[in-house]
Assembly symmetry: C2
Homo-oligomer: 546 residues x 2
């Protein structure tokens, strides 16, 4: 049996595009004499469709795509993900299903049993889990067909669910496992995914064909990396990361494969880099935009953002705007100009002084003689935000936000100022990793001037300001933030790890008190296991560690 | 048996405050010779604690409050909501529980079986549902104790769950039902709640004591309205809406009650008004702020926002800022001044022309001779946002956002401009209801000048602009929005209802294409069944009806 894995980039709700991709791939697979082609989870509508699933019209459109797939399935089997209306009134209205369609008929359906409802996932919001399982026969082979999470409930110390679908399916003596997924990227998730595939093939002694989605949907990036492994525990092939691809496999050859594991290199910073580049590319592409704008301050964050955007969109499509004030250092402008020259990207300079002074003279009568404080600092940041948005509105750019995760965590940023933007590029990257990304961006040629990488970080909103005036060193700050945000360690645990109690208390308070800012932050491309945004849901008016 | 219902306003994560409220109420109940006092769902930590539930330290603090409640329970029974750690590794780590504690011991525990995971609710994100049920004996009475949603799965055509907890509990011959809830306000939810209580008492032929939380947590308002009903289907008492209160009931008297239902009047607009006032009050109170600022444009939206804020915070604590431009009409300033005079609230005037002109002269070289468009309009709106934020930062105000739901739906507003603010006051109120709220605000005395109510709406961002230049009449617009947003009707259904096809298509496209704006909108006080924000989760880069 010849099996094609179609790792494609779908567009949520863009039924025309998704259907065309699926039908074209089916034709290609027929030309290549495939017996079966496998598409990813909810391929017909793109994953995650979120609350569109609650609209009957949206489900009808999914069903129409399924009908057209049926028509196209003469002489080939097609496995594809789509929602199914639950026929009984009890329970949620939908199932999250994998269909096996061939010769115009639905041969079998597998509904998802384990519904991820944590972090960025909301599946029990929409879907009813099933508790019965049945292998599907196709061309003399029994297929144990599962959807994404269904293969993840083994080998855990703390299993999330009470059922294990493959434990049930294996009782029906399947010949192979096929899993269709929409498993998102995070820096260490590719390895998790390989581990779980291997745990499955080892436990059930069957080959597995695992087809993942690729492509970014605003904050969530799907990295592909579909994989085929066999009962000997060998990785036969790993499909590309961050790229669309269709690959063909002969089931016998897969079963026989006994050579070394076919693995791609996985460097953490390189993966983060590639994920962000795809995140930018798809955000623009799927919204129909081609050009970006950003404020280039001379600091490391905007420099890395520019480098990543230039790679995603082409340097000529990213306009940098330098907006110096009286508090800006000369090197900020020089370094920025140098970087744009290195890239060959356009740059403009607009000094903010006229606007800043206009606001001060308008506001001074109302400031009641109170001293210079964060109000004046924010006027500068907001004047810059306004300039960037005005240019966006006039010329059709999307503004890229340049904040990093450390700043977003402690609220070190100005709402409606440097926190503006359609998309936050490095909002899920701690400052220490921003430096690593900068080095990586310079791997082939000097793009980011060395001085930008080596100088001490500063917001330059008052004379001689340094980040270290109000924040602890990023090395320590990032460690504490990681333990609190990613690992959910509390104050006692952090102190037990050796961090200073007063520092811990100050940082946790800053994090919890800046929820109101993060609520209005642009969506951030997710590269960690716990990004701000839809995967981390916090009350604003709470008073816990605050 | 004497039973106290304690309908209290808890503060999420503020364990000191919550514990104090609970212990004080227990003492009061003892003084009143109550046998049993009932608190609401997750009372120890406040509801909804959201992802704080994932922090072991947070759960430990809940447990400490429970310990202190045990110590205080000498001579009285206490029913209180708290999370419980799931003792088995399979499944989610927590239960959402109701404890019955007396004389220092836990007499019984009921874990929640039906976990709302829709709209604003995420309970299956955190909690494992139970499938076994046991009545709890206390002072010779068998109590069927349930948590919130557990009583809602009866009498539906399309039940959300497969289990019905009370159907199981009733087999154990209970004497009474007690339900602890955190059931949020929406304009018609108070009636739903009474209906469900009546369906339960009628079906199970038992009295019910229903204790709800009161108080607002950012966007979600809990309206109280706890209720006691008996097996005869009589509403014995309904506790106040939007107020803390402890009331005492004799079980015999409740059982015997055969008089008319004791109901409070429920006028839709009055309820929305009261919910918003509490929403503002608690947002400020729980964050520790007392003073608000807003931009007063002379239009209906900011006028209603001011009236509501003045009621919540005191007129003297709400600063209005009029920020006319060359496009503002004279009456805008006059009407605004009149309103502040009516209220006795402070008002400032800051013309935006100096900032607007400064920006235009800075930007004109970069606008490449392109004509006046949304860029210049937004410079005005953003200059106003900047002024309001600067005053907030200087003096410690919270900025109130004045956008309505119709605008938010179609993206008729400027990000970082009039969409600024810590809290959106009327963001869940359609324009047609904003007018009704205006009339209601004037019910006792003329607060909002009549001219503000009668003049045609305008953003005043270019000469002679009217909302009706770019939007359909609000009567029609709001109907279509309601059908699409609240009722999830698709384009075909809307056309079948008689709406113009081109208009429907235009409006749905506007709604879906402005997700990116709503993503960065301030939290909106929820008064409908489907508010923007945490209860409506949409992808940004999707292409459905867009």
């Amino acid at each position: 049996m010849k099996i094609a894995l179609a790792q494609l980039n779908f567009h949520i709700g863009n039924f025309e595009l998704n259907e065309k991709k699926i039908l074209t791939s089916i034709e290609e697979a027929k030309t290549n004499n495939a017996d079966l082609i496998v598409f990813s989870e909810l391929a017909v509508c793109g994953y995650p469709p979120r609350d569109f699933l609650e609209f009957p019209d949206f489900i009808n459109r999914c069903n129409k795509v399924l009908e057209n797939i049926k028509e196209a399935s003469g002489g080939i089997g097609v496995i594809v993900g789509a929602p199914t209306v639950n026929p009984v009134p009890e329970g949620k209205d939908l199932f999250n299903s994998a269909y096996l369609i061939a010769d115009g008929e639905i041969i079998g359906t597998a509904h998802k049993a384990l519904l991820p409802t944590y972090d960025i996932f909301d599946e029990y919001r929409y879907f009813e889990p099933v508790e019965t399982f049945k292998v599907i026969e196709f061309k003399g082979k029994k297929i144990a067909l599962t959807v994404c999470e269904d293969i993840w409930n083994i080998g855990n110390d703390n299993p999330l669910y009470e059922t294990c679908p493959m434990d049930e399916l294996v009782k029906q003596s399947p010949d192979l496992m096929i899993n269709i997924s929409a498993s998102p990227f995070s820096a260490d998730h590719a390895q998790d995914r390989l581990d779980i595939v291997l745990e499955n093939v080892n436990r059930y002694q069957l080959p597995m064909f695992y087809c993942n989605q690729v492509g970014a949907h605003t904050e969530v990036v799907f990295d592909g990396g579909s994989v085929v492994a066999n009962a000997k525990g060998k990785i036969v092939q790993e499909l590309s990361y961050f790229k669309e691809e269709i690959r063909y496999f002969d089931l016998n050859e897969v079963e026989q494969y006994n050579d070394t594991d076919q693995l791609q290199e996985k460097d953490r910073i390189a993966l983060i880099h590639d994920a962000i580049v795809l995140g930018i590319k798809d955000y623009f592409g799927k919204l129909g935009f081609t050009k970006a704008i950003l404020g280039l301050s001379g600091g490391i964050d905007s420099a890395v953002t520019l480098a990543l955007a230039a790679e995603a969109l082409g340097a000529e499509n990213v306009l940098s705007v330098m907006m110096p004030s009286q508090f800006s250092s000369d090197h900020s402008v020089n370094d920025s100009e140098q970087m744009c020259e290195n890239l060959g990207s356009p740059v403009k300079k607009i000094a903010i002084q006229p606007a800043y002074e206009a606001f001060l003279s308008m506001l001074n009568p109302h400031f009641e003689g109170k001293p210079f404080n964060v109000a004046e600092e924010n006027i500068q940041a907001r004047s810059r935000g306004l300039i960037l948005m005005a240019l966006s509105n006039k010329h059709g750019y999307i503004l890229l936000n340049t904040s990093n995760k450390s700043e977003a965590a402690v609220g070190y940023g100005t709402l409606y100022g440097d926190m503006c933007g359609g998309l936050s590029v490095i909002g899920d990257v701690y400052k220490v990793d921003v430096y690593r990304l900068a080095e990586y961006c310079n791997r082939n040629k000097a793009i980011i001037p060395q001085h930008i990488i080596t100088k001490p970080p500063s917001a330059e909103l008052r004379p001689n300001q340094k980040d270290s005036d109000s924040l602890p060193d990023y090395d320590i700050l990032d460690e504490i933030l990681f333990q609190y945000i990613e690992k959910r360690q509390g104050p006692n645990e952090l102190v037990a790890m050796g961090y200073d109690e007063a520092l811990v208390s100050r940082i946790l308070k800053l994090v919890n008190r800046s929820e109101y800012k993060r609520y209005q932050t642009p969506p951030m491309i997710r590269v960690s296991n716990k990004a701000f945004g839809m995967g981390r849901r916090m009350p604003i008016v709470a008073k816990y560690l605050g």
